[in-house]
């Protein structure tokens, strides 16, 4: 894997000057993913969402690689077409470079509206890496709940109210859904652990075929924390086992990190505005339920990894 010095020397393919919030994790994901690709040419696409609207405000662009945005739910389908064109033109000899294809999508564009297109693209076996930057809500349209939003989180469509304390349901486990596709490479990573993410992007690209990485992406606006804590928020999500770092390579599960001592989930939750209402004593049972769910998911994952 490239070390930090090498990465720094590569020069950004996702450049500054975009309009993301200070401390935005989404842009870190894009920048690090392209850095990890090294000198291999990459063509990228992105679903409508924060990452796209902050990075492509015409006549500017933050993408120093060929880039296409077409719509919200179809970045997997769009890159399928680009990759199909590549296969065709390569076969005909009109394109000679060895090109990699990357699609980005937020949790809304991936877990929800774009799931069908993503699943289709993976099943068809396109040579592409799909990276979901999961900030756990539809941030671009103003922080609405998605199926990645954790239970108890207050969003603008699952607000904390007099009767209902935030989102009622647990979040969907998309990484497992993607693993069930039986594709060569599936992984979970996090903003705040550059080496884990870089390694996984490198691995996914080297492997060839369809690959999927879900990256937990703290969003300072939607989660409500000071911008300098983005990386910390990501790391804490891992330390609490809320977001385990693991990979599924050719069907084989591997845990990449085990916290020395699992931190309680409220340590992560209570640093964020979206969970602030759960601090009230009457919600203790809810917190316990959330903790239970995390522990159960962790146990389940560990079993898979020890198979």
């Amino acid at each position: 894997m490239a070390n930090l010095k090498e990465l720094a020397a590569r020069g950004d393919k996702f450049t500054g000057g975009h309009r993301a919030c200070a401390g935005c994790g989404a842009t870190i994901v894009a920048r690090q993913a392209l850095l990890a690709a090294g000198d291999k040419p990459v063509v990228a696409t992105c679903a409508t969402g924060c990452l796209e609207v902050v990075s492509t405000i015409y006549p500017y662009t933050a993408w120093d690689v060929p880039f296409i945005h077409s719509a919200f739910e179809n970045s997997a389908a769009t890159i399928s077409g680009v990759e199909a064109a590549y296969r065709s033109l390569k076969r005909q000899g009109t394109v000679t470079e060895d090109i990699r294809f990357m699609a980005f999508g937020g949790d809304g564009g991936t877990y929800d509206i774009g799931l069908q297109a993503l699943s289709g693209a993976m099943e068809r076996g396109h040579n592409m890496l799909y990276i979901c930057y999961d900030n756990q809500a539809y941030m671009n349209t103003g922080i609405q709940r998605s199926s990645a939003t954790p239970k108890g989180s207050s969003t603008t469509t699952s607000p904390n109210g007099k009767k209902i304390p935030g989102k009622v349901q647990f979040r969907k486990n998309l990484t497992e859904i993607m693993a069930a596709h039986g594709i060569p490479y599936v992984a979970q990573s996090v903003v705040g652990n550059w080496s884990d993410f870089t390694k996984k992007v490198e691995k996914a690209l080297a492997k060839g075929g369809p690959a999927f990485i879900a990256v937990l992406q703290p969003c300072r606006l939607g989660w409500g924390y000071p911008p300098e804590l983005t990386a910390e928020m990501g790391r804490l999500a891992v330390e609490t086992n809320f977001w385990p770092l693991y990979e599924v390579e050719d069907g084989k599960y591997k845990l990449n990190y085990t916290p020395k001592e699992r931190k309680p989930i409220d340590e992560w939750m209570f640093q964020q505005e979206r969970f602030r209402h759960l601090k009230r004593p009457e919600h203790q049972a809810l917190i316990a339920q959330i903790q239970q769910d995390i522990d159960a998911r962790w146990d389940h994952l560990n079993k898979k990894c020890s198979l």
């Binding site: 405000i57 296409i68 065709s88 068809r124």
Partner: protein, 391 residues
């Protein structure tokens, strides 16, 4: 040049044209009555008869999305669909045009749900008429074949660079067997030539962003540029049609006039109904009735000037719409023709007729009666009637 005479259905003819265009990428999803096009084309791919990368996507939304990616990557790209499929593509249909991508689509016209119906009317493609696509209607399988070949040239023309939709009437043309003149593969290839995109995503040494967000400061200008491209297409479609005629003996214009110049009564129509109307007109002419037809081949860009000129000296005109603009004033063809004529000094009397929804038959007797009614003044000018419906 020796043409090859074959018996083909409309779908077979379109699939054959696609094969001879030999696109780099086809991404498609099956739907009746267009399914066959995809099936036949898949067989060409399986047999190695085309160089095409075929992407059997999981939906029409993804079909058009993949076509957009492919065309942006500089590949010659085609697809085919119908009705609900086109409706599911709708969002991407706009994006394909807005990004100025030369995609060619075969759309086999079929009614839209609900109630679900698999037969022909034009409501599917008419629903996309403002999307920025060029929109060519075919009268029969021969035209479907010829139009598909010309479409690629038109779409890729530097002054146009817009997607093109070629339609046939579902089942009537798509599944009707006809005798068609086809061209040798090499002639088709020679006609469409090599594609040289201005910029594309696989040119990794020259990275660019396509599909950027345009705010109030640029969006309008880019939409306006698309309007200019549509206007340019008027000329380009005629040039391509004329060149096609010069090479292969069948000229194509934006419209076709059939016994129109000296007609007293005329109908305006699109698609297969024009064929039926021509037979009726032949019979009426023998009886001394001065009947004529204006066939609109190209509905987008709308050939306003040519239509106004063609209808100027007619006394009475009936405009036939195979789709309705529900709650509006008549179908899209009627409202456009009528508004085109509004500024003309010599306006004919004009009446709109919605017919054939969901595949309801229109036969020679009906068309003959329509002509006679027009002749006898039995019509309501400037209003809309429903032809062949149980009221």
């Amino acid at each position: 040049m020796q043409k090859i005479i074959l018996a083909k259905t409309g779908n077979e003819a379109m699939a054959l044209a696609m094969k001879q265009v030999n696109p780099d990428v086809v991404a498609a999803y099956p739907i009746t009555p267009a399914t066959e096009i995809v099936q036949i084309f898949s067989q060409y791919v399986a047999d190695g008869e085309v160089k095409t990368e075929f992407v059997a996507v999981e939906s029409e939304h993804s079909a058009m999305s993949a076509c957009i990616g492919s065309a942006a990557a500089g590949a010659r790209t085609m697809t085919g669909t119908s009705s609900q499929g086109l409706a599911l593509m709708y969002e991407m249909v706009y994006i394909a045009a807005g990004l100025r991508l030369p995609i060619v689509m075969a759309n086999v016209n079929r009614a839209l749900s609900a109630p679900i119906n698999i037969h022909c009317d034009h409501s599917d493609s008419m629903g996309c008429r403002d999307a920025g696509w060029i929109h060519i209607f075919s009268e029969n399988a021969q035209e479907a074949y010829d139009n598909m070949i010309q479409a690629m040239r038109i779409a890729e023309h530097r002054d146009v660079r817009l997607p093109v939709m070629v339609t046939t009437d579902g089942f009537i043309i798509s599944h009707g067997m006809e005798r068609i003149d086809t061209l040798p593969d090499a002639e088709v290839q020679g006609f469409i030539g090599k594609y040289d995109p201005m910029m594309h995503l696989l040119d990794v040494k020259k990275p660019f962003t396509i599909g950027a967000i345009n705010l109030t400061d640029y969006y309008f200008e880019h939409r306006r540029a698309m309007v200019d491209a549509q206007n340019n297409a008027l000329k380009v479609i005629k040039e391509v049609g004329a060149e096609f005629g010069q090479k292969f003996d069948t000229n194509y214009g934006l419209i076709e006039k059939y016994h129109l110049d000296d007609a007293e009564v005329a109908i305006v129509a699109l698609g297969s109904t024009c064929g039926t109307a021509k037979v009726v007109i032949d019979q009426l002419r023998e009886k001394g009735v001065k009947a004529g037809l204006l066939k609109i081949r190209v509905f987008r860009p709308f050939p306003t000037e040519e239509i106004v000129k063609a209808l100027e000296n007619i006394k009475t005109v009936a405009v036939l719409d195979r789709s309705d603009s529900v709650g509006g004033f008549g179908g899209p063809v009627f409202t456009e023709v009528r508004s085109a004529l509004y500024g003309s000094a010599k306006k004919p009397q004009i009446a709109g007729y919605v017919y054939g929804l969901g595949g309801r038959e229109i036969d020679m007797e009906q068309i003959e009666k329509l002509f006679m009614d027009l002749k006898d003044g039995k019509f309501k000018a400037d209003s809309v009637s429903y032809l062949g419906v149980r009221e």
